[in-house]
Symmetry: C2
């Protein structure tokens, strides 16, 4: 059922009064990553809206290895997003979706570049049936983003607009749009409407200002929190409460 | 050093007289996947050129969990490719690359859509310094491939040609081009030359014929081998030896 994920996310966001999605991106020796992640998660769990996990943890440890972190999220009522930027064929995407949901994840991020037919279309349907969510990439926050998302097709449309239209037409639960491009956030909003959440990365370590994420529903923040001396305080700052 | 990965791959291919890259894609309950993978790998290790692992194993078990399979590959001298279709920002891509190489993988597949600057450029350099390889997606084998790889930019060029040019210009070790599109394989070859390997998926379960992969250097095959009653025999068939 579409909407179930966003309902849980909105509930969690209201409870904490926060629009921050904590990205558990840890570098350095693998051995210390899980412990560091649990520490930051425990310190911030009442201040955040949701948690995002990427290959930083999922690649070395797998879903089996992050069970402890998933448990902390579920007990705290925090929706959990897998940021795998999924862009494979249908059978593999389905496999990924099933594994994630089976292990307690609520949502994953995918790249609409891979297409709907035998790509993401049937997967989004299945995930919705199971009460999960899918968030699609529309515009990323690194310098090279224009080498992909900024390409203009022969129709005269830039890909990020086409991707926002796909998010709307495919019934995605949300989109990712860089906080460095407030115009892109505004453009995306016009296309996807209000029921599709805008997640905005790039605040902090990547150079964006919290204010520039203003048109977004949620800010995705990693290093400015995980590397802060006071992670909970860092989240409060991002939420405009000092 | 660029070339080190392709040297190892070529050596392995000559030793086995095979151009088949075994894709260890297992569905079904997680518990049985590692055992099933080890069984097929053991049965086919003398008949194949390399091994490819995707989220089917890496997502549930992580690099920690697939150590046993990695060991079998290394003992058999089989190069190991991680098919994560990497398309993230530089810091995350670097993290992924470092983890993979540290755990004994030789190469990974990435999507050039993400761009060079703060995307894949610096990562390819680092991987080459460490003796590993990077293979870029140029054209995939599902119906929706044209919704992405087939898009035509305002320059009049389809993206798959732009991606082949990126593979050449960024010094990628190989490209992935669907075996269902022999014309695309030929086009890609013209662009990337002979030093950049063409890996072709889509033979067998996805509908392509072994013959159609003719212009490719290596065939990526999963289900036609993993689901065969005689996996080694299935590989020999693919290599044209009955």
């Amino acid at each position: 059922m579409k909407g179930a994920f966003n309902d849980r996310l909105s509930e969690s966001s209201k409870r904490s009064g926060s629009r921050v999605v904590l990205a558990l991106d840890f570098s350095g020796p693998h051995a210390g990553r899980l412990r560091a992640a649990e520490k930051v998660l425990t310190a911030t769990k009442k201040e955040i809206a949701a948690v995002k996990m990427n290959h930083h943890l999922l690649l070395p440890f797998g879903l089996e290895g992050v069970r402890g972190l998933v448990r902390v999220c579920r007990r705290a009522g925090l929706p959990l997003i897998a940021d795998l930027k999924v862009n494979d064929i249908e059978s593999t995407n389905m496999n990924i979706a099933d594994s994630l949901l089976a292990y307690g994840f609520d949502c994953f991020i995918a790249n609409p570049f891979v297409g709907k037919e035998e790509g993401l279309g049937p997967v989004i349907e299945r995930v919705h049936e199971k009460g999960g969510g899918v968030v699609l990439l529309v515009y990323m926050s690194h310098k090279g983003a224009d080498e992909g998302y900024g390409l203009v097709t022969d129709s005269g449309k830039p890909l990020y607009r086409i991707f926002a239209e796909r998010a709307r037409d495919w019934g995605a639960d949300g989109v990712v749009v860089s906080s460095k491009s407030p115009e892109r956030i505004a453009e995306a909003r016009k296309i996807v409407g209000k029921g599709c959440m805008i997640f905005s990365p790039g605040v902090g370590a990547q150079g964006g200002e919290p204010e520039t994420g203003a048109g977004a529903d949620y800010l995705i923040v990693g290093r400015s929190i995980t590397e802060a001396r006071d992670p909970a305080g860092a989240v409060r700052n991002l939420n405009g409460r000092r």
